[in-house]
């Protein structure tokens, strides 16, 4: 197992270096002088330009610049935002819990609904339930979620007035946020109604973000179950006269869950892409909206480091999924 983990880690190093090269080249490929680009429309005096060029290291050869960049990254220096003048890592850390909270709610929602629906659809293959749920799943899979979010806002916020349109909590509440997770912080604050407000703000974004993973998980669970149910050991269990509930619950489900767990883990990339759209629609102050805002504000250090941090995080989660997979299934470890 240790060798398996080491192998996976070794495999990641070139990929991570590749990611740093892409993030580094991002600012270098931009047409024009990076200092002028960062200065924006106001421009800078020639003296200040020279000073900035030297300060940012743009007067050195590109390869040296890359190694400087890498060295700073290894020391935890991810640069400073041009707009807020705050360290990028601090901004990332401040906004990250909002995205994690939303992402966790979405993936829990998707799993809690998707897995049982997939199992039931497989057991009742060909039934109306199977057909309706799989058609719905395909619609969900094809859904432009930015439109879906707008529709939900029109219906639940506009027509019914049930849910708020944007943000994480009503402006009526103000309390310190030690964890950054609004659900926890609102509970800790002890203010009446704060938790309810946080939940009501979370409902629509979670549904929107969960839509595609839910569809994928339901479809994957169904096909994994169908495959397992055709296996010899399931037939043997049946032949022994084991009750249907036990055959499905113990023999089939456990084996079918292996690919499903992987699918759930791999949704992290999908969630991150979805978060960009969902957070934009609901003005959710998380990483996705931060990236979009930084791109439109041309805040390149943020875009550069944000790209790096997000890719690194996705890679880390994928590694964890791989390791879990190896833990559940010894055959993977051996290969």
């Amino acid at each position: 197992m240790v060798r398996f983990i080491l192998n996976k880690l070794l495999y990641l190093i070139p990929t991570f270096l590749g990611i740093t090269i892409i993030a580094f080249s991002f600012v270098r490929i931009l047409p024009g002088d990076p200092v002028l680009l960062m200065a924006g429309e106001r421009g800078v005096s020639p003296e200040r330009h020279a000073e900035l060029t030297a300060q940012l290291g743009y007067d050195k050869p590109v390869v040296m610049q890359y190694f400087d960049f890498l060295g700073r990254l290894l020391q935890g220096d991810f640069g400073t935002s041009l707009v807020t003048k705050k360290p990028v890592l601090d901004e990332f850390m401040a906004l990250f819990p909002a995205t994690v909270e939303l992402g966790l709610c979405a993936i829990i929602l998707a799993t809690v609904i998707g897995v049982p629906v997939g199992i039931l659809a497989a057991i009742k293959r060909g039934s109306w339930f199977d057909q309706i749920s799989m058609t719905t799943a395909l619609v969900g899979f094809s859904m432009p979620i930015f439109w879906w979010g707008l529709l939900l806002i029109i219906f639940f916020s506009g027509m019914l007035g049930w849910t708020p349109v944007s943000g994480r909590i009503s402006l009526l509440y103000y309390f310190p946020t030690p964890t950054g997770f609004m659900l926890i912080d609102s509970l800790l604050s002890g203010q009446p109604g704060a938790f309810k407000s946080a939940v009501s703000h979370l409902i629509l974004p979670s549904i929107v973000l969960a839509t595609i993973p839910l569809a994928v998980i339901a479809r994957q669970t169904r096909s994994a179950m169908l495959e397992v149910m055709g296996e010899d050991y399931v037939r043997t269990a049946r032949a022994k006269g084991m009750p249907q509930r036990r055959v499905i619950g113990v023999h089939a489900l456990r084996n079918a869950m292996i690919p499903v767990v992987t699918t759930i883990g791999l949704q992290i990339g999908v969630l991150m892409a979805g978060a960009i759209l969902t957070e934009t629609i609901f003005s959710w102050p998380g990483i996705g909206k931060w990236m979009i805002d930084s791109i439109s504000r041309r805040d390149y250090p943020v875009v550069q480091s944000g790209l790096l941090l997000i890719a690194g995080m996705v890679m880390l989660v994928n590694l964890l999924v791989d390791l879990t997979y190896g833990l559940i299934n010894p055959r993977i470890r051996a290969s």
Partner: protein
Amino acid sequence: MSDTTVKLSDAAIRRRMLAEFWFYFSQNRGAVLGLVVFILLVLVAVFASVLAPHDPTVQYRDALLVPPVWQEGGRAEFLLGTDAVGRDMLSRLIYGAQYSLFIGIVVVSIALFGGIIIGLLAGFYGSWVDTVIMRVMDVILAFPSLLLALVLVAILGPGLTNAMIAIAIVYQPHFARLTRAAVMAEQKREYVTAARVAGAGNLRLMFKTILPNCLAPLIVQATLSFSSAVLDSAALGFLGMGAQPPAPEWGTMLAEAREFILRAWWVVTFPGLAILISVLAINLMGDGLRDALDPKLKRS
């Protein structure tokens, strides 16, 4: 071989293969429905200038935010209503089909072409060529696709062409991986060795001998990428990074309609519905293609 064996001409073999394909494809009702919708979409796009009742960019200043014809205040000349600057929704939706199909075709063509070449090289030559190429592909795949596309567009500058290039670059590793896997499996087959012994050069082996036998998974992936391309380009348009106004691209139309969502439901509902229906139709087709082209599924 017995005397009764009839030698079929190439055309006859192709006809039989097509018939077999259609047999399996048509078993899937959803796939046939998807195909019908897709053909309709193509027809709408091709005959947009004939079908559209108005010019998609003309602004009727006396008809701002007119609701659809069946709603109170609706006008017969604007069947699906008008947008905030008085442009006919129906005409814009019809012209929007051109954009979506064009984007899908261009993105898939670039990604497919690039992916096939890269995958063929990696799979055929192996060793360090393979290692380098596949590591680069891993790096691209490590980024969430929409995020990478967004950043690429930020570098290249917002606009439809750059959005298409960005999406194609992001999709290309999927094709490269598929091609490589298929090439590596096919390369060990006897017909490849036979061709090599017969003196076929590397290029001929790659493109004429091996590639045609790797096409099935690529076709399925191309269909799925087509629908993703329509979705992602609409998302980029929605975020202001894709096609720019006043282009009647569905995602861009949604972006322009955002501020009116609580006042005029039709300006938001119809473009999204158009995206959903197109993507769904293509995905249904993709499912059918996979069933028809995957030999493992055929036997069961």
